[in-house]
Amino acid sequence: MKRKYIAAPYIIWMSAFIVLPLLFVAYYAFTDKAGGFTLENITAILDSLHIKATLLSLELSLACTALCLLVSFPLALVLRRLNMNNKGIIILIMVLPMWMNSILRILALQMILSKNGILNMILSWFGIAPLSIINTPGAIVFGMVYDFLPYMILPIYNAVMDIDDDLIDAAKDLGASYPSVVWHVILPLSKPGIISGITMVFIPCLTSFVIPDILGGGKIQLLGNVIEQEFITSMNWHLGSGLSFALMIFVVIGLAFSQKQEKKDRESLVW
């Protein structure tokens, strides 16, 4: 027996529960309630209501991804500088919050950010006027950054820690100050980690519906909320599938772009 056939149970599982469900989504997306072919469910994303949610989703997701990146890359540099090379502990610290229920954590964030919340209480001690963050897009971005930050930190941390000390020594030896070492050596060499961090944060942001629900006060509709309502409240599976399908197209385009980037990097490394 060939060794590769041992993967058979997985191949069957994969076909039944990964590939087949996606075909179902496609089927619903391209049919109407009577079962006839239609493109309306897909083009529905261009409706004024949906396009607004889509654009806002894209905007908030981009903001969240950028913030996560801005926080994570310096953090990875800090961890490298402090010689925190016990990967186990760092990963532990990043993964541990996941063991507190995620919805409860977002609710706790709501308490922190709310008008009479902990943040404003602390600010008042310093005589700073209370902020009204809660129920704004800003609060949603804050919540997303909170929830998805570990997904950005871990790949970037791994990439930064994997850079050989010699390369950094060599750059310094050739006259580079620390900022130029970061810009010319560490940043380009951690690009694969940054790209994978971006995909791991951007996609969940784009489709999150619990965070906007809680921190947006139910008034701000993102793409995820629209899809959820089509399925749960309106029971319009065809429209919901169509929107999901459109979302998948976004994701695929994004992934293809990042894969191409990565492939280009790898090829140029070989040649």
């Binding site: 390369l167 020594d169 750059a171 030896d173 050739l174 006259g175 100050s177 130029s180 060499l189």
Partner: protein, 356 residues
């Protein structure tokens, strides 16, 4: 003019409470090829990293042309390093790697491209500008690493076991190349290696180190022919290392057999260490040597035979081009000036160092 370009004064360094260098002082002259030689863990790489500025000494000072550079950061020193594993930037082309230091120093493009061309010519890799480091062989990568360092016109080039990862043939070619480069550039080379042959071939001056101490400083000839202690004798080349007694000037006794030698001033009836190189032990016909011996093993080594023979209670290692059968009864002879006498280590501390 031969003046000191670099001096290390009373350098002490420890890592995690483990002493790596103790009270090390060293002077290096302009335009010298100096090799730091020793087994791994002897402190040679730490010394190099202190010179480069990657490591700060706990005590002591580093002077370059009389100026104290002990705390000067790496990037401000006129010193460049060639790393053991090349440390080429994998995301840059060969040309970008070489240009790195010059771009940091904001040189103009014209100057940079001229320098790249010159450096690639110097290391015989013209036409490799657009290649990525990973597409090059080990030897080629090493040449690029050298090119990348020398375009910055350092006053001192540090080389940290640069040939360690290359195979024998390539290593020998690169040794010649380095000597040629050194002549063309006219700068100081400080070279770190654990390979004694490499050190003997290339250096003007060898610094033999062990356990954080300098054991001996001298020309390759000095180090090989007149090792100052048993460690140096043992580490450089192969040697018959024997315990003897200095009976008087120019006469030493080994296992009660007397040998004429040329060393003086060790005192009378003083225990000493004696070094005799295997190629200096001559096999003679019976009755023509100093003492008899019996051949116990013969190994063919290519250039010569390595013969072991037992005589006066000692296993002698002999290098000779003539073949002798195992069991053959022979006489052994050593010319007086080929016998090297050394003081026994004076303190226990020193003895420990030498033993390891």
């Amino acid at each position: 003019m031969q003046e000191n370009i670099l001096s290390l004064n009373n350098i002490t360094k420890s890592f995690d409470g483990e002493l790596v260098l103790e009270d090390l002082s060293l002077e290096i002259k302009r335009n010298e090829f100096v090799t730091l030689l020793g087994p791994s863990g002897c402190g040679k790489t730490t010394t190099l990293r202190i010179i480069a500025g990657f490591v700060m000494p706990d005590q002591g000072s580093v002077l370059m042309e009389g100026e104290d550079i002990t705390t000067l950061p790496t990037e401000k020193r006129c010193i460049n390093t060639v790393f053991q594993k090349y440390a080429l930037f994998p995301h840059m082309t060969v040309a970008e790697n070489i240009a790195f230091g010059l771009k940091i120093k904001k040189k103009d493009d014209d100057y940079i491209s001229k320098k790249i061309k010159y450096a690639l010519e110097l290391v015989n890799l013209t036409g490799f500008e657009k290649r990525k480091p990973r597409s090059l062989s080990g030897g080629q990568q090493q040449r690029i690493a050298i090119a990348r360092a020398i375009v910055n016109e350092p006053q001192i080039l540090l080389l940290d076991e640069p040939l360690g990862a290359l195979d024998l043939k390539l290593r020998q070619d690169m040794q010649k190349e380095l000597i040629r480069l050194k002549k063309e550039l006219g700068i100081t080379f400080i070279y770190v290696t654990h390979d004694q042959e490499e050190a003997l071939t290339m250096s003007d001056k060898i610094v033999v180190m062990n356990q954080g101490y300098i054991q001996q400083i001298g020309t390759p000839e000095d180090i090989y022919n007149e090792p100052q202690n048993a460690f140096v004798a043992d580490f450089i080349g192969s040697a018959n290392l024997l315990a003897g007694t200095m009976i008087q000037d120019e006469l030493v006794s080994i296992n009660d057999v007397r040998f004429d030698c040329v060393d003086k001033g060790f005192g009378i009836n003083k225990p000493v260490d004696v070094v005799i190189r295997p190629e200096d032990v001559e096999i003679r016909e019976k009755g023509q040597g100093i003492f008899p011996a019996v051949v116990t093993s013969v190994l063919f080594k290519g250039v010569h035979y390595e013969i072991f023979a037992k005589g006066i209670g000692i296993d002698w290692m002999i290098h000779t081009t003539a073949y002798h059968e195992v069991g053959a009864e022979i006489d052994l002879y050593v010319k007086p000036f080929n016998i090297q006498i050394m003081n026994k280590p004076e303190s226990e501390d020193e003895a420990v160092i030498q033993k390891e």
